[in-house]
């Protein structure tokens, strides 16, 4: 317990001091993806639902927020809320269809429906097609605190990230979360105990989609753009990799994974070109073959001597 307090204390100090040491926009972007991965982990780690199309919620929320803020002059907070609402709605529709099947089918269905969303974004007018939305203004928090400065934006994202991280923990450790874990371990048994499994899965799915949407909105504001790559299959793959590499079913895992994958991408894309996708693919292969618990999962197993989760 004492170790944990020290670790979290150090992490807190590091998070607060980060903008001095690292480019704050990169740090804010990293937190957005970490939040995205936490949302994804809620499904994969705690309910064993592999959504292969989570970029749909991340990207459409980014578009909605960006469009409302830049074209219609909405306030930043209202824009974020509208983006999250859109992601939530999309999550309800896609989730209701996808939870009808399990396992591998669920993965294929979410992938296909996310591709549908991708094509709609490609052809719709408000998304700016191939160019995407550029120059999205960050605005201010309720007209009081302007977010133009990168460091301010970073602290804004950090505050939301911490709140979401704690929220996800709270969800997983609630009675609701325990039912999810029961579904993960043995779905037929959960059904026979009288739980309406589909309803629990749908709620988890919609929660995850909404948080993914929040992450997308914040990413659009941080970087001031939303593009097709935000809704693409590549982004869906990335968030899977982040969760898998960091350790699905652990709380810090997705955050660690997001940090590593983003840093790697940033570092590699200038140096090796097309090899980025080769390296990402190779990490996938290594994770699946020999490293299924992920980094945090392995650490927890070796040092704490207890199973992850």
């Amino acid at each position: 317990m004492r170790v944990r307090v020290v670790v979290y204390g150090l992490l807190g100090i590091a998070a607060l001091a980060a903008p001095i040491l690292v480019y704050p926009v990169f740090m804010a972007q990293l937190l957005c993806f970490a939040m995205f991965a936490c949302a994804f982990n809620l499904l994969l780690g705690y309910t064993k639902m592999l959504s292969f199309g989570h970029a749909a919620y991340f990207g459409s929320s980014a578009y909605i927020t960006g469009w409302l803020v830049s074209v219609h002059g909405w306030g930043t907070l209202a824009g974020i809320l509208a983006g999250v609402a859109a992601a939530m709605l999309l999550g309800i529709v896609i989730g209701a269809i996808a939870v009808r099947r399990q396992g591998i089918y669920f993965a294929m269905i979410t992938l296909a429906l996310a591709q549908l969303v991708f094509f709609i974004c490609l052809q719709a007018d408000f998304t700016g097609g191939e160019n995407g939305l550029q120059g999205i203004p960050r605005g201010s928090i309720a007209g009081i605190i302007p977010l133009d400065r990168d460091a301010t934006m970073y602290y804004f994202v950090l505050a939301i990230f911490v709140a979401i991280y704690l929220l996800v923990r709270r969800i997983v450790r609630s009675p609701f979360g325990h039912v999810l874990e029961a579904i993960r371990e043995n779905e037929p048994r959960a059904i026979s105990l009288g739980y309406k499994v589909d309803r629990y899965k749908l709620v988890a799915f919609v929660l995850s989609a909404s948080i993914a949407g929040l992450a997308g909105s914040l990413k659009a504001l941080t970087l001031s753009f939303a593009t097709l790559s935000d809704v693409s299959q590549g982004t869906s793959g990335e968030v899977i990799l982040m969760t898998l590499l960091g350790g699905s079913g652990t709380f810090p895992g997705p955050v660690v994974g997001a940090g590593i994958v983003l840093t790697l991408q940033q570092y590699l894309s200038e140096r090796v070109g097309a090899w980025v996708s080769v390296i990402i693919g190779a990490i996938f292969v290594v994770c699946v073959m020999v490293f299924r618990r992920g980094i945090v999962g392995e650490i927890q197993r070796r040092f704490a001597g207890r199973p992850p989760g």
Binding site: K48, M108, Q115, L116, V278, A282, R292
Partner: protein, 294 residues
């Protein structure tokens, strides 16, 4: 001139023919996916990558070694299948006892690797592959002109699909295969080398994907990303047909191709989403797919 929905009839028939060509590729690819899933229990995300590699094998064969189309039709699937067999031995074999999701994730990684390597070697732009001499030109059917190559793709694909169906459903080898799908341990106890069958099946499924790639090379641009979005459509086709159903894969592949072609005529904007919309409707109406059983 006869028009339907304000579109001249020959244009409609042309689009339907193109749809049938695409449907042939869907059928070949979803057939391979269904065969692999049936025995290995793995959804092969790398299927699009193998399709792309098949097309590239034909392209490289022609450019570098002067191998003509007809030999490529035979050699490219063999080569790519060999690669598939190696991947099965090195990686997939260790995942059969685990959750099938790991197989999906592994093959996704392999697809990324294959695509990245090809993009590094050949760039992202599309290459064109010439239509073989024997199949150039058109049939004039009176009501429409039919390019010979397109007719060939449809005939060849349907034939290959038919032969595959026959092999699996009507021969002794197919019976062994289906028995191994039902109960691998028991089949093994009868002295049949199940791991070898599994390896061969993966190779055969991959060969079908590569064959589709060679057939596609003259009608589409050969590029590293040609399989990426295709595999997602094929997944939808498989969900619609019902995973594991051979007939379902073939019939829904061809039908959806035609529906897609038809959509291109009446409402072009929806042509690349129509398959996904149909998938959603089928899932609401019959969650197990049209040919599947719960």
């Amino acid at each position: 001139m006869t028009t339907v929905f304000g579109v001249p009839l020959p244009a409609i028939l042309g689009q339907l023919m193109l749809g049938l060509v695409n449907g042939s590729f869907y059928a070949l690819l979803s057939l391979g996916l269904a065969v692999i899933f049936g025995l290995l229990g793995i959804v092969n995300f790398a299927h699009g990558a193998f399709y792309m590699l098949g097309a590239f094998a034909a392209y490289i064969g022609l450019q570098t070694f002067g191998v003509n189309y007809w030999f490529a039709l035979l050699l490219a699937p063999l080569l790519v299948a060999l690669l598939g067999v190696v991947i099965e031995r090195l990686f997939l074999r260790h995942l059969y006892r685990l959750d099938p999701l790991y197989g999906l994730l592994l093959t996704f990684g392999i697809a990324l690797i294959a695509e990245g390597i090809m993009r590094d070697q050949f760039g992202a732009s599309g290459k064109s592959y010439p239509v073989p001499e024997l199949l150039r030109g058109v049939f004039n059917l009176g009501f429409m002109v039919l390019p010979i190559y397109r007719a060939w793709v449809v005939v060849a694909s349907v034939t290959v699909c038919g032969v595959t169906w026959f092999l699996i459903e009507r021969t002794r080898l197919g019976a062994t295969l289906r028995a191994a799908t039902e109960n691998a341990q028991l089949v093994q106890a009868f002295g049949i080398n199940v791991p070898l069958i599994v390896m061969g099946t993966y190779g055969a499924g991959v060969a079908l994907a590569a064959l589709a790639g060679v057939l596609a090379a003259p009608v589409v641009q050969v590029s590293p990303s040609m399989g990426t979005s295709l595999v997602i459509v094929v997944f939808a086709v498989v969900v619609i047909g019902g995973m594991g159903s051979i007939i379902g894969a073939i019939v829904s592949g061809l039908t959806l191709g035609v529906i897609e072609g038809f959509t291109k005529v009446i409402y072009p904007e929806a042509s690349n989403i129509v398959v996904f919309v149909i998938m959603a409707v089928v899932l609401i109406w019959r969650p197990a797919g049209l040919f599947g059983r719960e």
